[in-house]
Structures are given as structure tokens and as C-alpha cells.
């Protein structure tokens, strides 16, 4: 297993690239029942993350994630700034000064993010937000870790990503209870949630990068 810090760096880099590349698409998803800014807002933060990542403090997982959280809170507007910023800051606090995380520790960090999002947005599972993709994906990862694996987690990450995509698709038909889509009431059922869909797309890209890194390591 590589250093967790390197993995976090890889994940952040992948995520940032995916968000920058998909800014318009994510914004378009938000336009259907929302206000069409989601992808642009996220990009405003993650393009800075991507550009400056090398200069961020990499001495610990917590230090790195905290810096990312600050950039997001500083640059991203709308609900996504506080939500994603809080997610990274809570993850940072949970990870602390460690440079390596065990599987269960990783899940703990992800759960801290989820709790942060939930508290910050006063949103629960089923409210039709990004939580509806993120929570099942983390559940899936937790189960895979409990079962154990010998491929460096390649299959487990892919499975989590697939779960996220399916869960995001399943937001179609759900009634939005949080976010701007909630203003449209029953009309919100007609579209998928933008945040949940973005989580699926991001996890798929992370999974591909993870596979490459593990295969690269294996050669």
C-alpha cells in the first residue's frame, strides 16, 4: 500500500480535474430544477485546488484536507461552498496528523464528512441531495473493506463508484426537500439531483485513477 497522503493527493487531483472538465455539465444538471450555477461554483474552488495543490502542506492527511477545505470555503459560493468546505474540514479534523489511514480509519473520515454535510445543510438521506449518492457509496466501500481485498482496493472503489452512479440515477422521481429544487415541489421529481450525479461522475474518475495507480504500482 502506498502512503495514504499520496492517495489523497491523487484523489484530490482527479476530483479537481473532473470538476473543472465537467463544470458546464454539472451546471446544466442544476439548471433543470435549480439555478444552474452548481458546476461553475465548484469549479471556482477546484481550479485553485488543482493549480495550487503542489504548494499545499502535505505533512499530514489532515493538513492537506484542511487547506482544501479553506480554499473551497473561500472560493466557492452558493450552498456548495459551505457544504463541500465543511466536508473537507470535518474530514481533516477526523484524519488529524496521520499520514497513513487504515481502511476503517478512512471510513471514519468519510463519515465525518457526511455528518458535516448533513449538519451544515440540515439534510438527511432521502432529501435528494448529494448525500443520496455519497452515503451508499461509503456504505459500499465500508462493506468491501470489511470483507477484505487483495487488489489494492481497485474493485472496491469501482463498486462504490457504481453504487454512487446508480444511487444518483435513483434520485429521479424523488421529491427534493433541500436545495433550490425544493422550491418547485412535485415538479422536482422530474429530474435527477445535480450534486448526487456529480458524486457519481467524480467517483468513476477516481476509480479509474485508482486502478491506474494500483496497476502502475503492480508493474
Amino acid at each position: 500500500m502506498t502512503d495514504t497522503n499520496d492517495d489523497v493527493d491523487l484523489v484530490l487531483r482527479t476530483m479537481a480535474r473532473t470538476i473543472v472538465d465537467n463544470a458546464e455539465e454539472f451546471a446544466q444538471l442544476d439548471a433543470v430544477a435549480g439555478d444552474g450555477d452548481f458546476g461553475f461554483s465548484l469549479r471556482n474552488g477546484f481550479e485553485v485546488v488543482e493549480a495550487d495543490l503542489d504548494s499545499f502542506d502535505h505533512t499530514s492527511v489532515g493538513a492537506l484536507l484542511k487547506k482544501v477545505g479553506f480554499v473551497i470555503a473561500g472560493k466557492v459560493g452558493g450552498v456548495s461552498g459551505p457544504i463541500w468546505g465543511t466536508a473537507f474540514m470535518r474530514a481533516a479534523a477526523a484524519a488529524g496528523e496521520r499520514t497513513r489511514l487504515t481502511g476503517p480509519e478512512l471510513i471514519e473520515v468519510l463519515r465525518a464528512s457526511i455528518t458535516g454535510i448533513s449538519q451544515r445543510g440540515q439534510a438527511e438521506l432521502g432529501d435528494k441531495t448529494l448525500l443520496d449518492a455519497l452515503v451508499p457509496a461509503v456504505d459500499s466501500l465500508e462493506a468491501s473493506i470489511a470483507e477484505g481485498f487483495d487488489d489494492g482496493g481497485v474493485a472496491a472503489v469501482q463498486k462504490a463508484a457504481d453504487v454512487a452512479v446508480a444511487a444518483a440515477e435513483a434520485t429521479l422521481g424523488m421529491l427534493a426537500k433541500r436545495g433550490r429544487a425544493a422550491y418547485t415541489g412535485e415538479r422536482s421529481r422530474a429530474s435527477v439531483d445535480a450534486g448526487a450525479t456529480a458524486i457519481g461522475v467524480i467517483l468513476q474518475d477516481i476509480s479509474a485513477a485508482w486502478r491506474d495507480s494500483r496497476q502502475g504500482a503492480g508493474q
Partner: protein, 331 residues
């Protein structure tokens, strides 16, 4: 996209530069936080009042910074509330020893950013008051919903607290006045067309030539329902029914009546709506203390209008009539 724009990502900074230059030195601009603020702020003798929602609602809020109104506004990008950092840094820059008042529109994005920033300010020992504006009756208000949106009624919260603050009122007093306005103000809007964010370049939704959106938000998010385009008379009926019935306003009440253009509707149509609404209110025994017709809180280039009622008492009347100066002026 039919807009006057250079690089769409520079839309907000270039607009803010224009506001500063047009102010003749009355306003300053800090590009780090999209911040437009009074050149003479902070003023030790008055509570500072700041706001910042998404951009795209101009003149709200950057164009109504000035004497008797806001001390500063730090909007986010188009339709995105400001990042926490903008609010926190603005609060520090404009902090007065008498305290600072945060005027927040009730959107999750705005609220979370302003709440986080308030906590940060308070951790620094600052005295911060906050008001949550939520005048849009199109949205169901209950504990399990996100609550009403803040729309054009916001103007009256700024006007009243701004005037009181100019008179030297303390922070607690401003919160009391603001809460009174919020408790007395209700709005609803109707859109005839969608709107086009500069960076997106296409309208946020499609709408038929014979349709309108009732209970529209100010961010291009769809409204309560889509119905057949109606006459001005019928539209005013829809708006008045929803707004009057909500507080409710009743016979004998005195109100401020605002017809707010959403950006693409000409002032001629706004006055036409105003005349109809004024008469229909008179028919219900509700008399207009003062009229407000024009663009107060827009949704970019959306054709549409909203109607706002504010029930006034002597205190509010005086605050509404107090002088004020903003960059967005006629003379």
C-alpha cells in the same frame, strides 16, 4: 447570448468596477471579496450593515450601498451566494465598534455562509446581529421545508434598518426594526421569460410563448406552477390573492406597494401593473402609503415582475421617508 459582456467569468468584477467608477468617489471596491462599500465606512458612530447574496439581482445589493442604505455588499458569482470568506473578511473590514448587522436572504447557500461567517466573527469577539429575509409567499413555509425565499421585500429591510442606523440606532434596535419589517412584508413574482446567466449563455428554462411561471424565484429556478399567459388584470389578481391572503393584509391597513421588474420587463409595463394593483387594493380598503415601481431585485434579463406589500406603522413610515443615497440614482 445577447449580452454586453467581455469574458463571462469577469462579468461580476467588471460590473462592480463600473459601480465604483460611477459613484464619483462615494464607494470603494475590493475585488478580493466582490465588495462594494461606502468610502466612509466603517463609521464609529453607526452600526455597519452588510449584505451579499448571489449576483444577477442588481440593483440588489451592490447598487444600493450608500448613505441610509447598506454600508457594504459582497455578492458571490451570478446566482451563487458569497463564499464564507467574503462575508468574514467583509465583516472585519467594515466592523464598527457599535457592531455589524448581517442581512441574509433565506437560501440555504446564503444562510450557511453567513452563519459560518458569523460564528467566525463572534469567535473573534465581534458583535454581530443577523436578520433572515424570507418574504416570498410562493414557497411553502414549514419546519421541514427550506422555508421562504428572500426576494424584493429585502429592499424594505435595508431601507428601514439603514435609516435607523444612520440615526445612530444600536444593533439590538436594528434587529428589532428589521424583524418588524420582515414580519410585515410579503412578495410574489411571475415570470414571462427565463433568464440567461452570462457564463451559461443560454436561458435557464424553456417556456412557451403562451405560458408564464407563477411564483417564480429570482434565480431562474422554476416557479410554483406554469399556467397560460394571462392579462395584466388577471396577473395582478393572482399576485394580490397570494400576497394579501398570506399575512393577511386587511381593510384599513396602510401599505407600501412595490411593483418590482425582474430585469427584462420595461418600466411602462411595471407602471401599468402598479395602477391595477393600487386600485384593486383600494377596493379592498387597503390604502397605499407610498409606491415603489422599478427594478429593486432582478433576475438578470428575465421578463417578469413581482408584487410586494409592506404593512406600515408610524415608525416604518418615518424610516421609509428618510433620505438615502445610492449609486443607482436618476439625478
Amino acid at each position: 447570448m445577447k449580452k454586453f459582456v467581455n469574458d463571462p467569468r469577469q462579468f461580476v468584477p467588471e460590473m462592480l468596477t463600473g459601480i465604483q467608477l460611477a459613484s464619483g468617489g462615494a464607494l470603494d471596491y475590493d475585488p478580493r471579496y466582490n465588495l462594494i462599500y461606502r468610502a466612509d465606512a466603517p463609521n464609529d458612530n453607526k452600526v455597519s450593515i452588510i449584505q451579499g447574496s448571489g449576483s444577477g439581482h442588481e440593483p440588489a445589493h451592490t447598487m444600493i450601498v450608500g448613505k441610509g442604505m447598506l454600508d457594504g455588499a459582497c455578492p458571490g458569482d451570478v446566482f451563487a451566494g458569497p463564499p464564507v470568506e467574503f462575508v468574514y473578511e467583509t465583516s472585519k473590514l467594515l466592523y464598527s465598534p457599535k457592531g455589524i448587522l448581517h442581512l441574509v436572504n433565506n437560501y440555504t447557500g446564503d444562510r450557511t455562509a453567513w452563519e459560518m461567517a458569523k460564528e467566525m466573527c463572534e469567535a473573534d469577539g465581534m458583535k454581530v446581529g443577523a436578520l433572515l429575509v424570507d418574504d416570498d409567499v410562493a414557497v411553502k413555509d414549514s419546519t421541514w421545508t427550506v422555508g421562504r425565499r428572500g426576494v424584493a421585500g429585502n429592499f424594505f429591510v435595508i431601507k428601514a434598518t439603514g435609516a435607523a442606523s444612520e440615526n445612530g440606532a444600536e444593533l439590538e434596535e436594528l434587529v428589532r426594526i428589521g424583524e418588524k419589517v420582515i414580519a410585515s412584508v410579503r412578495s410574489m413574482g411571475i415570470a414571462l421569460t427565463s433568464c440567461t446567466p452570462p457564463e451559461r449563455g443560454t436561458p435557464l428554462f424553456e417556456i412557451g410563448d403562451d405560458e408564464m411561471e407563477v411564483g417564480i424565484g429570482i434565480h431562474g429556478e422554476p416557479g410554483r406552477e406554469r399556467v397560460k399567459l394571462a392579462s395584466a388584470d388577471e396577473i395582478v389578481d393572482i399576485l394580490l390573492d397570494a400576497v394579501v391572503g398570506d399575512l393577511p393584509y386587511s381593510s384599513g391597513d396602510e401599505v407600501a406597494l412595490m411593483i418590482n421588474g425582474l430585469g427584462g420587463t420595461p418600466i411602462s409595463e411595471q407602471y401599468l401593473l402598479y395602477g391595477i394593483a393600487h386600485r384593486k387594493l383600494a377596493d379592498q380598503g387597503i390604502s397605499v402609503f407610498r409606491s415603489y415601481v422599478g427594478e429593486y431585485c432582478t433576475s438578470l434579463d428575465m421578463a417578469g415582475a413581482s408584487l410586494t406589500l409592506l404593512k406600515v406603522d408610524n415608525e416604518l413610515k418615518e424610516l421609509l421617508l428618510a433620505p438615502a443615497e445610492v449609486s443607482n440614482r436618476i439625478f
